[in-house]
Symmetry: C2
Subunit: 457 residues, 2 copies
């Protein structure tokens, strides 16, 4: 590209704004792109604090760091912590996985799924059966499954634009694979990583045993997609090959942790509360820069932008960094518990927990009247390449939150790259683009500005 | 992100299509995301062929490779080359740059701008004056400039969403800085790299001396943004510091090279031609995966998708990989020259030369009637997160092309990350996301399908 002369491109120049809302959005985006702190905050959270699994030292450091940053930002009237007891799961030693095809031993990248039990110290070695779904287990039955490892290998559906749909659909294998396989006497579960890439990173994530007796728990691990492809191919030639994996993860006693809250008191309606947040915990394999360091620093940036442009919200604004989204959801539950206890009136809640990519729009949980009201603002966002206003899930941490009347919104960043990094060791700071992160923060701030200005019906 | 339940998201599931166009676009996107070749082609072009500056061995290998791939793809009726003489500029030895602040020597990353002359063998050492614009030169005048190096340090404007605007505006320093500085007796030009990031990569790119006498040519180099910041800061304390740079680049005799053309003969109107292309040449510092390997393989993919979904265009479709976009534009000129000579009737031309990022829309050069006709198709693209249909420059290679009536379109990928890589050593294969590349190809194919089906007015 030598000399693109895109001078005629419309809809794209900050500063062409006319009406007060257009001007305010222009100021918000300009502030985000020229004087934001979110990228530096994320740098620290990722590269100094590091991974932040609930109950870990990293999680505690993250609480202290973000609280201090919010306090020193001068953007808040008060900053405080909400105590919350969180589960503590520890990975233990690096996992080992390989298969034996006759005498040939082939190592494959595996990692324990969060919440899984350990294998016996020597690991588990058994025949392994590939299935594509939970339903297939039933068809195979106990006779064929007993004593074996089950290999769940249904890939995420590549043809969908909405990668989160593909993730959710294929995710039943990770969430419930071990539990279901155990019912037929399986001794372990190996689950294809939930990513659309073919690579060598195993992707962890939450799994549960539901209400099966603890004696029937079996260990579960993720295998990288390249590992899964190789294993599947080799199995076709030798269905009797032996799979081995070894992991020493364990559950420890619950730990006292915190949601971090920064509050700007509303100038006109202090009793009406708007919440914006992300989750401060991450998985343990990486920095969790996209999941969800990005959402935390973007939420903090909302208050910073308001300070920079001199905007004082009429309603109370709370920036909430929730603890324990990944393996328990305790922070979100605690926030709701305290809101109920204090008789709070929440009118709006927003979450950013889909990565720090270029913002495309919002996923809204709203009644029809407010949905229509919000979508009428679409044209204000178009100059910033933000077009999608759809009905859908807004966020796990704000899911428990109830109020007499509340609208919820989830930031929708571009969804194509998220699962390249999600819950894997490459979810690191260098995978986040500064401008994309900042544009997400500006997009969040803009909707909050509009909600604050025009209220909900 | 543990358990996003985005099941209610609308507008996003391939397969919900109803009318024939919706179905055809669904088939196109599905083919791109599940059976495309473009990512593998790009892998080869980047990692086996490598950089492809006009006249280089890499450029010739790229011609041979893409011709062979098009021939063996069975997607074309014929594949051929168009001879074109291209300029050859050679970088020579790795450049050296440093400044001397008293006795302290600080190295900074520099690279010669494409088209620049060399420094004397020993390099140039001189005082250096920072300016923010070409206008500032005039104000300084010959007295202050003579014998000095001029340091053009105006950054790209971060507040604009359209990074291509910022690039074009700040780019006058690179394109014309040396030429203008020479008029006031400067001995060299150092230009801040055209990127919005702060990093250590110097970004090359075309510069020209216009019509000043060859005896007045002065060498020009880019400096990394971090280097520029450091130099600027140090200059404020010591305006007399000495800057040194050394480069051995040279211009050689023109070389015979080629545009690569693959053609599908139109089933109803073979005399009406649609063109889709990118440029096969790149700068020499990296693989040129985004600029413009991506555009080449996406253009090739258009024909591959048509083959896969069994679509035969009514009009003739040509995939054209243009040579020498970066430093001459000879391939685009040659294509037009031959089109004129052969009395061809082009109805449509599309270029992809803005990187292999998630597609956001098109930049259209069209009369009002066809602009309206094309924008009426917007709703067909929305399920694929493609929303922007704006008037603007379509592409450098198709710029020379004229016809009695022609519509031109440039693919608009998300513009935030492009200049992180543009013309620098990090424009490599790993910076391209497979799905984003594929979605771009599908978006291009979809518009070509619609143009082919409904024609232009």
């Amino acid at each position: 590209m030598k000399k693109i002369i895109a001078l005629f491109l419309l809809n794209s120049i900050v500063g062409f704004a006319q009406n007060p809302d257009e001007k305010q959005l222009a100021a918000i985006y300009k502030s985000a792109l020229t004087e934001s702190k979110c990228y530096n905050w994320l740098d620290h959270l990722s590269n100094v604090v590091g991974s932040r699994l609930s109950g870990s030292e990293g999680a505690q450091k993250a609480v202290a760091y973000t609280k201090l940053q919010m306090e020193s930002s001068e953007a808040f009237d008060k900053v405080y912590l909400q105590e919350v007891m969180v589960p503590k799961w520890v990975r233990g030693e690096k996992e080992i996985g390989y298969f034996l095809d006759g005498k040939k031993k082939t190592a494959v990248p595996v990692c324990a799924l969060g919440g899984s039990i350990a294998t016996p110290k020597a690991g588990i070695t058994a025949e392994i059966i590939e299935v594509q779904s939970l339903e297939e287990l039933k068809a195979l039955g106990t006779d064929k499954i007993k004593g074996k490892i089950i290999f769940f290998n249904r890939p995420m559906e590549a043809s969908k634009i909405e990668t989160f749909h593909s993730y959710f659909e294929a995710g039943d294998q990770r969430r419930a694979g071990a539990k279901e396989a155990s019912k037929y006497g399986a001794v372990g579960a190996i689950v294809r990583s939930l990513t659309l890439r073919l690579d060598d990173f195993p992707h962890t994530g939450w799994m549960g045993y539901g209400d099966i007796p603890e004696s029937q728990y079996i260990p579960a691990a993720a295998i990288s997609t390249n590992g899964a492809e190789l294993l599947s191919k080799t199995l076709k030639n030798n269905p009797k090959l032996l799979f081995h994996f070894k992991q020493s993860c364990r559950k420890e006693a619950d730990v006292l942790s915190y949601n971090v809250v920064g509050e700007i008191k509303g100038s006109e309606h202090p009793e009406k509360v708007m919440v914006v947040g992300g989750h401060l915990d991450s998985w343990d394999l990486a920095d969790g820069s996209h999941d969800d360091g990005a959402g935390c620093v973007q939420s903090m940036e909302v208050a910073n932008i308001f300070k920079n442009i001199g905007f004082k919200p009429k309603n109370t604004l709370r920036v909430v960094l929730f603890m324990n989204e990944e393996n328990g959801g305790r922070g979100g539950q605690k926030y709701q518990e305290l809101a109920l206890k204090n008789n709070e009136n929440h009118i709006f809640a927003m979450e950013s927990d889909s990565g720090g990519f270029a913002p495309r729009g919002f996923s809204l949980q709203s009644d029809a009247v407010n949905f229509k009201k919000i979508t009428a603002w679409k044209n204000l966002f178009e100059p910033y390449y933000v077009h999608v206003f759809s009905e859908g899930h807004a966020g796990s941490d704000i899911e428990p939150l109830t109020s007499s009347k509340i609208v919820k919104a989830g930031l929708l960043p571009d969804p194509q790259r998220y699962f390249d990094y999600h819950h894997a060791q490459n979810d690191t700071f260098d995978a986040v683009n500064k401008r994309e992160l900042e544009l997400g923060a500006a997009t969040m701030t803009s909707l909050i500005y509009l909600i604050d200005t025009y209220g909900i019906e």
